[in-house]
């Protein structure tokens, strides 16, 4: 297997982008990544997208997007793993370059979510849960994560204030991210007193509905120096993916995401590092409770201590383990299929030392964790400066 590097990244400011179409958003991000890398062609491409059929009535994205990027007849494949579609597209591209099949591969993600109303978006997102045995009976995604939060709070004594510290921290980071949907700080009371969605989670515990795309260019590490333009070369040091039961009720433990535990172990083993060697991380905070549980499942904190760590500022920029320096899904936005590649964008930005006011000092190794549904799938990548 060949070592793989990320040589280009592209994105735009995410948000409610009424005047932009799916193809328009995606092509912009892809062109940004191609220009950033300085490549004159790509050999293959992957696009992560959860459900363009339900959101915009369009499937067959591989061909549509290759066509609009002007790169036909390169092979192009859509990858779907609910909200982990972007991370899984990254994985597919990594495998293709590592295997030696292709040299320059475009990996990307996109979701155009605001063409449908709130009910339509809830319906589309709910297809990531068990349709006949969860959704049929009335559960929503906030409801599933609320049941995890209830279990966690009861067992580990997490307080409402500690839980609210997560979105407060993420928004504080998002203020310094020009690509973030929301670039405003919020107060603890705002989180606690905002509209109840699924008890104990309020609106400000939940990531928003977002339009957006992100892209990255991968190549063999041996070729990466050619494209570095004096910037640090970023290597994909580790990758791991795993699945779990799609229905939350089938899990042994509602306060642990086993797919994340296993995906992380695989990524750490490949990179030959442990959680203590990670300088910063982008994690899948679709809901505030998810960031706490994931920060433990990645091995950053002991089980039951993640909330206390967040409340103590350990996950803030300048803290012991900065998490979601981009603002996370909560503040940067969560265009579901694009989210996993958006995380890779932030990792590369930090590792190049180009993160401006949200820069983690001396960042040499970062981790991205992207998750589908209530944790039915997870994918972890570890990137490091070579």
């Amino acid at each position: 297997m060949r070592d793989v590097a990320v040589i280009g990244i592209g994105i735009q400011r995410w948000g409610e982008l009424w005047e932009r179409s799916l193809r328009d958003l995606w092509v912009e991000a892809a062109l940004n990544a191609i220009n950033d890398a300085g490549v004159d062609h790509v050999d293959s491409m992957y696009v992560g997208c959860m459900t363009p059929g339900l959101f915009v009535g369009q499937e067959h994205l591989g061909s549509l997007l290759a066509d609009y990027l002007g790169i036909t007849p390169v092979p192009a494949t859509r990858v779907e793993s609910a909200c982990a579609s972007g991370g899984m597209a990254m994985r597919a591209g990594f495998i293709e370059v590592a295997s030696g099949l292709s040299d320059i591969v475009l990996v990307s993600g996109v979701e155009k979510m605001t063409d449908v109303d709130g009910g339509g978006a809830t319906y589309a997102l709910a297809t990531a849960a068990d349709g006949d045995y969860e959704v049929y009976n009335g559960v929503t995604f906030p409801g599933l994560y609320a049941m995890m939060a209830r279990d966690y709070m009861r067992r580990f004594g997490l307080t409402r204030e500690e839980l609210a510290a997560v979105p407060v921290k993420s928004h504080a980071n998002g203020v310094h991210n020009p690509h973030a949907q929301f670039q405003g700080a919020i107060k603890l009371e705002t989180v606690i007193n905002s509209v109840m969605v699924a008890d104990p989670l309020t609106l400000m515990d939940c990531s928003p509905i977002t339009d957006g795309a992100a892209a990255a260019i991968l190549c063999p590490l041996d070729l990466a120096a050619k494209f570095s333009k004096g910037r640090p070369v970023v290597k994909v040091a580790g990758m791991g993916a795993a699945t779990d039961s799609i229905a939350l009720h089938s899990r042994g433990d509602f306060s642990t995401l086993n797919s994340t535990v296993i995906a992380a172990k695989r990524a750490y083993d490949m990179a030959k590092v442990g959680p203590e060697d990670i300088d910063f991380a982008e994690v899948h905070d679709c809901f505030s409770i998810a960031e706490i549980i994931v920060s433990e499942d990645l091995g950053f904190f002991e089980k039951g201590k993640g909330g206390k760590a967040a409340a103590a500022g350990e996950t803030a920029i300048g803290g012991k383990k900065p998490i979601n320096t981009s603002g996370g899904l909560k503040s940067k936005g969560h265009p579901v299929g694009a989210t996993g590649i958006g995380q890779i964008h932030e990792l590369v930005t930090q590792l190049r030392g180009e993160a401006g006011k949200r820069q983690v000092e001396g960042a040499k190794r970062g981790l991205a964790q992207n998750m589908g549904g209530s944790g039915g799938s997870s994918v972890v990548h570890i990137l490091e400066v070579k």
Partner: protein, 130 residues
């Protein structure tokens, strides 16, 4: 909701048909063709999901999906049934402040949703304090 899609789930929604692995004792609802790699698939036998169980975790949904929007706020719980098998179901006929993890519940046959004003009525299981 497609009519065949609704119709073929009736054994579970109306009669709680499940199955059990004779090798390890696990109960599956809905029934499965395979248990774990170590268990012989020929050892799966039909059984019925117990009508009684307890709440493992719950939430009160304040903003519901379109077809449940009029019912909100409503409670949902993950329940472990006696003898094995788990469900995610609405917990009804109970004030929200009386809901507790560990409380006993039993399954009742109820109307779950309806497809607009003229579409099919859809039934299934909810749980009540038991």
């Amino acid at each position: 909701m497609s009519v065949p899609g609704y119709w073929r789930e009736q054994p579970q929604r109306y009669r709680y048909e499940a199955n059990r692995c004779k090798s390890c004792g696990k109960v599956f609802f809905p029934p499965r063709r395979v248990c774990e790699p170590g268990c012989d698939p020929a050892n799966l036998e039909p059984c019925k999901l117990s009508q009684t169980g307890k709440v493992l975790t719950y939430t009160i949904i304040h903003i519901g999906p379109t077809q449940f929007a009029d019912e909100a706020p409503y409670a949902m719980a993950i329940c472990e049934m006696d003898g094995g098998g788990r469900i995610t179901a609405q917990l009804v006929d109970c004030p929200f402040d009386k809901i507790e993890v560990g409380m006993p519940v039993r399954i009742e046959f109820r109307k779950i949703q309806q497809d607009g004003h003229a579409g099919i009525l859809m039934y299934g299981y909810k749980v009540v304090p038991g």
